[in-house]
């Protein structure tokens, strides 16, 4: 029993005793913030009309918190907070470095845009199904995954976001949605189970779950522990999460079924969490094993790119095509991870961030197109250019961005990746990247030609809505402007990403943040 009169033992061996600076609270605040808002929304069942406003306010706050966190990390290097002040590796550590902070910030921007878009996309019944609580809890899971410094804790956040995403994907309970949700749910559970098995295996070999501790112990265990097996298992688990070939089939089977805003958020957030975890584990924790596996990762990356883009070429449904483009983007990121080095890892991180913004915006655009043209299908979608010139311009910009054409955000990471691939002599990987970019241009160009420039047949689409509400156009335009801005003025983001990549390949500052004073 806890008694006030208990004699004080020497606590400094077990606990963090120095007071925590208020700024360090930014490390945990995104998660706690989202959990608190999610819980609040679950409690408020009656005043369903208040949900959107509370959630949007919460997401706006999340953007601010993540922005401050990134600023803090840029200024002071990686920041650590251990839960319940137990010293690491026993206490669960939240450690935020540049990579985690960048991902968290972009995720919160995407979620905020989704929150605004949802004002027009989610009706009362969607609210009653709990769209907004699920959204906040999803963001708690996503933020937790990006910010945690403990691999089992990463698994827990994966579960949190997975369960929230189940709730979001069946929103509405239509037959088609249940079908998509079953495929999505089953295959993701398999991936999560593999992740759990790999984590158990890792714990058995290392005796620790703290990422910094794993990174510093890996060197000494190379001779005895089955590190290659571990890395391969993690690669499979996270590859499945990220929808890499040949375990990508769940994504096109499910991403076109839910509401547009849900697809957009999934495309922006979920696969990227898998990619982030893969980068974290293979680049920071087990770098030599990544080196060994680099050919496998490169081959998987090239195939993922090509399978994705060929799939996109073959589709006649807007959202199905976008699903394949998500996959193709994952391939490019994997290529960066395979190549390694500052160029490869930096390119992978940059591409992932770009893909989060652009894919979400493209799904938004598909929603607008369906509102204007009355369908997602290419066979009946036509004459969008005539209906709404501004929207057509935005769509064209997004099509350029996703194809990696200048002056948009997709251009720079592509350049970095191609250059990094050529530098190590992997000309075939560079060729795959370029061919993918070219084919993506054709796929999106074909779509633009048919859906936007082709004149609508007489009398068709007359029933479709002519006016698009501002709450839909606003987030779409904002995300598009963001990609344009990054494309025109990439310097600050680029230098931050290069620092982030350097911090992953040489994690001494990360280790110092978790184990201060333990110089190695």
């Amino acid at each position: 029993m806890a008694v006030s009169t208990s004699p004080l033992a020497d606590l400094s061996a077990a606990l963090v005793l120095e007071p925590v600076a208020a700024a360090d609270w930014l490390v945990i605040l995104p998660v706690a913030w989202c959990l608190a808002f999610g819980a609040l929304l679950v409690m408020l069942r009656r005043p369903i009309g208040l949900h959107p406003f509370i959630a949007v306010a919460g997401l706006a706050g999340l953007v601010v918190i993540d922005g401050l966190l990134l600023q803090h990390v840029i200024a002071n290097g990686p920041v650590t907070m251990v839960m319940g002040r137990w010293l690491p590796p026993f206490g669960i550590a939240f450690t935020v470095d540049l990579t985690g902070a960048l991902f968290a910030l972009v995720a919160s921007i995407v979620a905020f845009a989704g929150g605004i878009y949802s004002l027009a996309d989610i009706n009362d019944s969607g609210r009653r199904y709990g769209f907004y609580p699920f959204l906040m809890l999803l963001m708690a899971g996503v933020s937790g995954a990006f910010l945690t410094g403990d691999i089992f804790n990463l698994y827990v956040w994966f579960e949190v976001l997975l369960i929230s995403s189940f709730g979001l994907i069946v929103l509405g309970s239509e037959r088609e949605q249940i079908d998509g949700a079953v495929k999505y749910g089953f295959l993701n559970l398999v991936a999560t189970t593999l992740f759990l098995i790999a984590t158990g295996y890792l714990y058995a070999s290392f005796g620790t779950l703290n990422m910094a501790d794993i990174a510093r112990k890996a060197e000494g265990l190379r001779g005895t522990a089955p590190l290659m097996t571990l890395t391969t298992l993690f690669l499979l688990a996270f590859g499945m999460k990220a929808a890499a070939f040949p375990v990508n089939f769940w994504l096109p089977a499910s991403y076109h079924t839910p509401r547009v805003v849900v697809s957009a958020l999934f495309a922006g957030l979920l696969t990227k969490v898998g990619i982030y975890a893969l980068i974290r584990v293979t680049v920071m924790l087990l770098p030599l094993e990544r080196e060994e596996l680099s050919f496998v990762i490169a081959a998987v990356g090239a195939l993922t790119m090509l399978v994705g883009v060929f799939g996109a070429l073959a589709q006649s449904d807007f959202r199905r095509m976008l699903g394949y483009l998500v996959i193709s983007g994952i391939g490019s990121i994997l290529a960066g991870i395979a190549v390694g080095g500052p160029g490869g890892i930096g390119g992978a991180i940059f591409y992932a961030l770009h893909s989060m913004l652009v894919m979400t915006a493209l799904y938004f655009a598909s929603g607008v197109a369906a509102k204007l043209g009355g369908s997602f299908s290419l066979s009946s979608l036509a004459g969008l250019y005539r209906r709404h010139v501004g929207f057509a311009a935005i769509s064209l910009m997004l099509a350029f961005a996703v194809s990696g054409l200048p002056p948009f955000s997709g251009f720079w990471p592509k350049v970095m990746l191609v250059k990094a691939a050529l530098d190590i002599g992997a000309w075939w990987l560079a060729a795959a990247l370029l061919v993918t970019g070219f084919l993506t241009t054709i796929a999106t160009g074909r779509f633009f030609l048919l859906a936007y420039w082709r004149d609508a047949a007489e009398g068709e689409g007359a029933t479709a809505e002519a006016r698009i509400p501002a709450v839909i156009l606003l987030p779409l335009a904002a995300l598009t402007l963001l990609t344009l801005g990054i494309g025109l003025y990439p310097e600050p983001l680029l230098s931050t990403i290069q620092n982030a990549a350097a911090g992953l390949s040489e994690p001494s500052s990360y280790l110092n943040s978790v184990f201060p004073g333990a110089a190695r």
């Binding site: 029993m1 806890a2 008694v3 006030s4 963090v16 007071p19 925590v20 208020a22 609270w25 945990i28 706690a32 959990l35 608190a36 999610g38 819980a39 609040l40 929304l41 679950v42 409690m43 408020l44 069942r45 907070m81 251990v82 839960m83 319940g84 002040r85 206490g91 939240f94 609580p133």
Partner: protein, 139 residues
């Protein structure tokens, strides 16, 4: 299942079980027990009551919607972690106060608040499932 004996005993059984569940919850800090197991005991109590007297009665008796109870629990658990901010210690650090109530020292802590949150989450989530299953049992 709806024998007279069962229906007559169920309210007493339920109140005893709920009382016991709170005992288990509070005992859980250093001994077997705690929020999760206490919550499960409380849900079994509600389930027994539901079988005996009908789901509607249970829903009226707990007043709040089960999911709202779960939300309140999650909120309490989050708040329990955030209290540490005021004390300038890391998230989720256990903080204790020992107020004296009628000459008895009552240890209160954020850990206990967190455990109560877990209790409410379990009560809310599991009873939500149990009640809708009982409802659709279609007797």
């Amino acid at each position: 299942m709806r024998s007279v004996i069962f229906r007559a005993v169920a309210p007493f059984l339920t109140s005893l079980m709920v009382l016991f569940s709170i005992f288990v919850l509070l005992r859980g800090h250093n001994e077997p027990g705690g929020g999760f197991i206490g919550g499960l005991v409380a849900v079994s109590a509600l389930a027994v009551y539901g079988i005996a007297c009908g789901v509607e009665t249970v829903r009226r008796a707990i007043y709040f919607h089960p999911m709202a109870i779960a939300g309140a629990g999650l909120f309490a658990a989050t708040i329990a972690g955030l209290i540490s901010m005021a004390a300038r210690v890391p998230f989720m650090t256990g903080l204790w106060v020992y107020p004296s109530l009628l000459g008895v020292e009552v240890p209160l802590s954020t850990v206990m608040l967190f455990d109560c949150g877990v209790y409410l989450v379990v009560v809310g989530a599991i009873s939500s499932i149990a009640l809708s299953l009982e409802e659709r049992g279609g007797e």
